[in-house]
Assembly symmetry: C3
Homo-oligomer: 240 residues x 3
């Protein structure tokens, strides 16, 4: 069963997502389409890189992951497709794949630059370049046939100090730190409690736990850690 996931900053309910799905199903009619998210903050490549990595971890070999967070659309950044650990990725080479690349057990085995055919929209390559390429890959077309092989590497995210990567809907902070961490400074607040589950934590007190993605997270039982600590994605954190 061909499977294609979609990650964009178009907004839930944007007709542009349906436009891409029309192109995907035209090129691969029996594909299963799964939305990872269309709620990436507009043009936020770092957030998109996290959401793409987090949301696509459990799809099997052969899945195609289409991602479009593309402030430079129509400009110099390259449209790319590549293979990594048995899955394919398609989108702009602007750092959006940085976390997938950094967390993968191996490096990309092949990568191509996708051509822009004449008449392609200068503002919506998701429709005209990325979706057709993703559909072709899902339909079994070999990666190498889609474009010119890249001679250099794919774009990475800039190295950064420890930060809040993401805030979930419950206000929990997913940090970029791996355990073990026993105490953390977040926005001037020391967090020194640790717990395994929310039920074990004292109500109202920020605490550290190892989240389901394998990173250190900060939560507050029966409340929101983001509001208690004044933290948002990108807020720096410091190990104590």
């Amino acid at each position: 069963m061909p499977l294609i996931t979609l990650t964009t900053d178009f907004g839930e309910g944007s007709p542009y997502v349906a436009v891409m799905k029309g192109r995907l199903l035209a090129g691969c009619p029996d594909a299963t389409l799964v939305d990872v998210s269309h709620s990436v903050p507009p043009f936020d490549i770092v957030a998109g890189a996290f959401i793409l990595w987090a949301g696509t971890q459990h799809f099997g070999l052969g899945a195609v992951h289409l991602a479009v967070v593309d402030p430079g659309v129509g400009g110099a950044r390259r449209p790319v497709a590549f293979e990594l650990a048995g899955s394919c990725y398609v989108g702009p080479d602007n750092g959006l794949f940085g976390m997938v690349l950094a967390e993968a057990p191996s490096s990309a085995s092949a990568a191509v630059e996708l051509p822009r055919p004449p008449g392609v929209s200068a503002t919506f390559e998701g429709r005209d370049v990325f979706a057709p390429a993703a559909a072709a890959l899902a339909a079994g077309r070999p990666l190498e046939s889609l474009g010119r092989r890249l001679s250099d590497g794919l774009s990475r995210l800039p190295a950064r100090s420890a930060t809040v990567l993401w805030v979930d809907r419950f206000g929990n902070l997913v940090t970029s730190l791996r355990p073990p961490v026993s105490a953390l400074l977040v926005n001037g607040h020391e967090v020194r409690h640790t717990a395994r589950t929310f039920g074990e934590a004292p109500p109202g007190t920020p605490f550290l736990y190892v989240g389901s993605l394998g990173f250190v997270e900060v939560g507050v039982r029966e409340s929101r850690a983001d509001e208690r600590l004044g933290a948002v994605p990108g807020t720096p954190v410091e190990v104590l």
Copy 2:
């Protein structure tokens, strides 16, 4: 065609939904996945119970309904799966299935407690316990093979007086009352008009009608009943 629906409070566009879908499709690759809602208010079991019941009524025999609104994740509440009127339900035994159980023509014919395998996340059993169980059921594995049979009943919602169960996007109030009701007190406001359709109601005046779910609803033609009456989910209503 195996069919799995999803109801959560993770938020539309949360990558955690995609994480569960990855697990579902890994366990049952030809499943059709249908999102009921990921907009259940965070940790709101009563709202989740309503949305789950309302959204899953028309799927046929053999559907599997996965629901995760789980403030006690990792704690004492039991992960369960059960069969009810030809469909299967999977999720935490915390009352979330209370309305499905209360409205069903029969009682659950079988129910099991799902084991927590070693290494399971203490904060995301949706990924590690519920999704694999739902996929196994959709793929045809018998319910009894998934866990230990429950010796007692499933959790119900606490009995409550009449309330607003839900407010739809148009501001209409779905109450917990069955017709016939000829007059209602909502937040100190008497509602004494009734109509069959919005077109029959006088503009600007709150009126009662029998909604599509079979409950008494309160609407205001060309306006919002929730704002006019200051009502939200949980607001008590009284028959006059």
Copy 3:
């Protein structure tokens, strides 16, 4: 592969969408369902007509497009289904299909009025009339068998002067104007710059470009045109 798209104003995460999907899959179990949008502003037929047209352009022959933005539900407007350029459309005949009809290369080749069977909900014909009809069409039932042939035409949108049709998530204004346009007046602001891509535009200055849908759009590089120009859907624009 039968394919059904859905466009409504029910809101993302509304259980009413899932109710319709249950009916769709009951009537056509192997249908692929694609959400175009459930974020049409409540009761906004003009916005719904745009989103339906924009989001359904790239699905192939034989697709069925179900659309429900229906302030007159239960009243006099007719429930209809029709065929246009190889695709079928199902929904209320209230102007919602006006843009699809206006932009199509041909006129509707056949149209029927759908009957309201006894017992149909007066407030949710999406569930009881439109979804069953869409499922029947997707399953291969002929359009003519679904209802009485219309003797007159389908409802159109009222003719309007040039306006902002839609504001995308990035704040760009999609106008109803076709290129070429070299200068535009929006809400008292003259827009005289043009560019092909955002990268070519001067930061902070509103500019005109031809958007991916073929209309003239107004954007601001690294900012939001809607906020800069105080424009919303429906704001008039004037060619200078």
